[in-house]
Symmetry: C2
Subunit: 297 residues, 2 copies
């Protein structure tokens, strides 16, 4: 099995072995994501060739991409970041690699991986929420990842009232204050000091630096309000935090739990957990989609 | 089949005949709801006796109640309005009537009725939203009414930013501006003129009365913002508006569609529909739950 997770900035690929809870990457590759669907297919084909070299038993490819995804028909419906619309990924990748290709959405596939082999195991109703450049969520309902028509789980783009503009055209979005990108950008705007990312801001928060603490506090507040909306509508038993920002661990989870406790009234109080699979979740999820495809046929 | 819908102010009961899309009430009774679970069971037992008089073939009761409901164990977990906690409704009603009793949540049962025999027929992903004294929603996901752990669909209690306090202890709730009760109350507060309900305010809006128009406009804005949140998280193909306020028809739906169009950016744009079953939806849904129970066993 070869799994490829086309991310907004980086594409991760892996040769994956094992089944069930034993699925694991045995060889990995990463490269910067090229914009444009045809260039992405070129990259996927090259990664597949590289990873299958010397391996006889690769039966399928699992591919996941961001944006709006039509899983059933193998089509990338829309990605603003990567610049495609209605592109037939499965058809193209199958033609280039000669391998059957399973197709999915990056966040939902990552949620599937956390559900089957990560920190959402055993949960029936949960929200798995990677926080990175953007924020979205996989919704686990009745023990399955809910797909709807492909445009679900946009918890990064709900209005939580802070009024700041968001790249999506709305104001007050969770993502405009709480994504890794927003945290880094807002720290620099406030302090005048450049940082390489949210991890730098987290380190400054640990050191008690005032601007960093203020930006972190606002991010936590936006996240807590977004989770509160999800709790009112879906009542999940747990929210599983993933992506780069979740690497901050208790520095994120502890104040987030406090803030949520302060906001929640009658809603079911979700347990807050950290995801287990880090930035490999999407790639492992892509492998699981390919395994499912082979088992179904 | 005898169906009973215990509402916040009124209890509706019906002798129901037919199956499938042909389910219909053949004899109906209404009475004011008494607070307290034991009094409710007394009323349910009396209504069942009254409706089954002279009818030989009543096989089961379908009962739906508001609040947090444990369908599986037949327990009314919590109702602030009606004053119960962890009350074993199914056990009590079965003991009193000698009839097997199916049990459910009023809003989800009403959603089930709209899905099977009303204006949500054929929808796979939809939100059915009765607007009355309160506001809540039944979530239809993958063609089924999603139950979760029983605390789902609280779209009346999401913060849409207007800042007014709500009975639930939060501020900015959709319900605090857009429920029938809130519309009537806010009109009177603003104008100093008493009304008997939101229908009076709707009539004044049609006549162009200034205070009524302002209150209506704010209600529509709160509803549109609530629906936008649902669209971001669940991407339903349609939102089906029910309850007393939906009787306003185009006076509600037309400005709501305009407002939603003004707010929506990348989210899937849900069709807005009016529910078909009016305030009988809960009672018909209770009958459907009883039919399902008999068919399953």
């Amino acid at each position: 099995m070869i799994a490829v997770d086309v991310g907004g900035t980086e594409t991760k690929a892996a040769l994956v072995a094992g089944t069930g809870a034993d699925v694991r990457a045995v060889r990995q590759r990463r490269r910067a994501t090229t914009r444009d669907a045809e260039a992405v297919v070129d990259d996927v084909a090259a990664l597949v060739e590289e990873l299958r070299a010397g391996t006889a038993d690769v039966e399928a490819v699992g591919l996941v991409v961001p944006g709006v995804v039509d899983e059933k028909n193998g089509i990338g419906v829309y990605s603003a970041n990567l610049g495609w619309q209605d592109y037939p990924f499965v058809k193209q990748v199958e033609a280039r690699t000669g391998l059957r290709t399973a197709f999915g959405h990056d966040v939902r596939a990552g949620g599937l991986a956390e559900l089957r082999i990560g920190n959402a195991r055993g949960l029936r109703d949960a929200v798995i929420m990677p926080i990175g450049t953007g924020i979205a969520a996989a919704l686990v309902l009745d023990g399955r990842v809910y797909r709807g028509d492909g445009s679900v789980g946009e918890v990064g783009h709900v209005d939580v009232g802070h009024g700041d503009p968001c790249g999506c055209g709305q104001t007050g979005c969770v993502e405009a204050r709480a994504s890794s990108a927003a945290i880094a950008r807002r720290y620099t705007e406030r302090s005048g000091r450049p940082v390489t990312g949210a991890a730098d801001v987290a380190a400054l928060v640990r050191a008690g630096e005032e601007d960093a603490v203020a930006v972190w506090h606002e991010a936590v507040d936006a996240l807590a309000r977004g989770i509160l909306l999800v709790a009112a509508l879906l009542g999940p038993e747990a929210v599983v935090l993933g992506g780069g920002l979740a690497l901050a661990g208790p520095l994120l989870v502890d104040p987030l739990r406090d803030r949520l406790d302060g906001l929640i009234t009658f809603q079911r109080r979700p347990e807050l957990r950290l995801a287990a699979l880090g930035d490999e979740a999407g790639c492992l999820g892509a492998a699981l989609l390919a395994i499912d495809m082979l088992e179904e046929t």
